[in-house]
Amino acid sequence: MNKYYMGIDIGSISTKGVIIDCDGNIIAKDYLWTEGNPINAVKKLVQSLYSSVGNINVVSVGTTGSARYLIGKILNASVIKNEITAHAIGTMSRVKDVKTIIEIGGQDSKIILIDNGVVVDYAMNTICAAGTGAFLSSQAKRLGVNIEEFGSIAKKSTNSPKLSARCSVFAESDLVHKLQMGYKKEDVIKGLCDSVVLNYLNNVGKGKKIKAPIVFQGGVSKNIGVKESFEKELNSEVIVLEDSHLMGALGIALIAKMSKIEKKFDFNIKDFNFITKGHECSKCANNCEVVQIFKDRELIDTYGNKCERGKIVS
């Protein structure tokens, strides 16, 4: 029987999943909104993957993204890894000689520098969320356009105004000001794309040597306007792969494959009822937030406690 591997990337905004075969080819994939409920999103995702490939022999699961611990425990994953490593591995499997990975997701953005197949440096935004997908989508709402159309509208622009790239709040007030001055909507949208790029390069990309080939990925890479702004600013071609939004999921599936840890995955998981319960442990001044996960009223795991006192055993 052939062996298959599943990788799931649960981000703040979207949940991505792939199933790969032994050679690393994607045989099933899906992308849906997390909508603030990672457990439901993953159940839907598993359902959708199941309906496209049927009950195949998935021997190992890997999870990454901000909800990786929770989902990893629920799916009984063999590897739970951070998204930076996952993204690097995923992209390197597609573009062998990649030197720079630009990743802009829902709430974070990162830059990964690669030299001869090894991650040599990376940076991630720390206390500022300007220039991420969440900012773009909130501005799309203000302008009354669909975030999916953002890129194609920006393409029409001929004369884009300069918007502040320092901070999302200032960018927003700049944007309102430009609209009131009478700029066309498409120009302002293009200006917004430019400001995301400038913010990224000034913030995350500060002091990093960006060398071609450059791969741009994450949800925002689907926005052609931002891609073109990057090309203009960096003076170099920027590659956006077809599955650019799935690279994290692909990477973690590959890591699961490399780990050689096999834990049979059961597609039935979608039929179980998972409940999480969070409480503040009050046994000492640390006040850890302890989370318990129940599978059909049976406690499967707890996490979040710093010490033994907060441990809850079933």
Binding site: N82, E83, V118, V120, M124, N287
Partner: protein
């Protein structure tokens, strides 16, 4: 009303400091509660928004202590905004309606140990200058021994026989500081702890290739673990050798005689003092690179100006010497996961680099 003295938390140094204050003032000491996110919440609520993070933690400590009955507060200071903490915190707490006396150890813009003697004399009339300086020296010796133990743990944690044993032994060392006092006892305590630690490590070559990481940055983030999301313990638990120059021994003693040496070391990058620990961090980064460390983690609280000046220089060093440096900025945010993701990815990356270098 009986005097009850309190002071802000600063890593594990509250052990020798509480003993010291007890000897000097001969009155009750309210040891500040362990710093938690609750401390930060109270502190941030009552602080100016853009002040640096240690200010918020310190203020939180003060408020917690005042609530448990303290009526004399002590604050030290340093060469950056830290020098103004005392005045501002006193004003904020007075505005909040607390009734207390504030002892500010800053005099004419610098930290003064002698000023503390004059202040202490007001409360303990029997105190004379000889006993005062005797206690200062014993306390410094206690702190020095604590730091030696800490450095030993950071260097040898990769050889420990069972997980976390060295950190546990370290805790027993602190307990003994409270029980026994004096030069001889401090020395005995140091040797007891060191002996226990040596019994629990086994130097074998398979561990020699573990990662080596240097922690640099602003002093409060480095020393008060809670303020830096326990990064150091996380590294130690993963059996990574850690180097951290900044500890109280360094700040109070070594730093005073070090400037020339540091400037010589960093002469290609910095020609003058950057304020606080800026120059020190640049020079130390160069030092650990020469020793073959795998990576550097630089941390600072949001808006720490000396460290902000050091960052571009460190970025240049990172590029010139081809060594990864992870820059972290802390603010009153509670997303521990975000910090963990970055540290985990950093360790992964260093391991990948190390494997590559080995294969070449």
């Amino acid at each position: 009303m009986k005097n009850k003295i309190s002071f802000p938390n600063f890593g594990n140094y509250h052990y020798p400091i509480q003993v010291f204050l007890k000897k000097i003032f001969k009155t009750d000491i309210i040891v500040p509660k362990k710093t938690t996110k609750n401390t930060l919440e109270i502190g941030a609520k009552n602080s100016p928004d853009f002040v640096c993070l240690p200010f918020k933690y310190n203020l939180g400590n003060f408020i917690e202590s005042l609530k448990s009955g303290a009526n004399i507060l002590i604050q030290a200071g340093g060469g950056c905004r830290y020098g103004y903490y005392g005045e501002v915190q006193e004003a904020i707490l007075k505005d909040l309606g607390y009734n207390f006396t504030f002892i500010n150890l800053m005099e004419n813009g610098s930290f003064s140990i002698h000023k503390f003697y004059k202040e202490a004399k007001k409360y303990n009339k029997k105190l004379n200058i000889f006993t005062y300086y005797y206690h200062v020296l014993v306390t410094l010796y206690n702190i020095y021994n604590m730091d030696l133990i800490d450095r030993f743990v950071r260097r040898n944690v990769k050889y420990e026989l069972s997980d976390g044993i060295l950190l546990n032994i370290k805790k027993s060392h602190y307990k003994r500081i409270l029980d026994k006092y004096g030069f001889i006892n401090s020395l005995k305590n140091y040797y007891t702890t060191k002996h226990m630690m040596k019994c629990n490590i086994l130097k074998d070559e398979s561990q020699d290739s573990n990662l080596k990481i240097c922690l640099l940055g602003e002093l409060y983030s480095l020393i008060e673990e809670e303020a830096s999301y326990n990064i150091e313990s996380y590294l130690l638990k993963n059996h990574i050798e850690v180097r951290r120059y900044t500890d109280l021994t360094y700040l109070l003693i070594t730093k005073r005689f070090n400037e020339k040496k540091l400037k010589r070391k960093a002469k290609d990058y910095v020609k003058y003092n950057l304020g606080a620990d800026g120059l020190d961090n640049v020079a130390h980064a160069l030092e650990v690179i020469d020793e073959g460390f795998d990576g550097i983690i630089h941390m600072k609280p949001f808006s720490c100006s000396p460290e902000i000046s050091a960052v571009p220089i460190l970025q240049k060093i990172s590029k010139d010497k081809n060594i990864p440096i992870l820059f972290l900025t802390f603010d009153s945010q509670y997303a521990k996961g975000a910090i963990e993701t970055r540290i985990e990815a950093f360790i992964d990356m260093l391991n990948m680099r190390k494997d590559r270098d080995k294969n070449e």
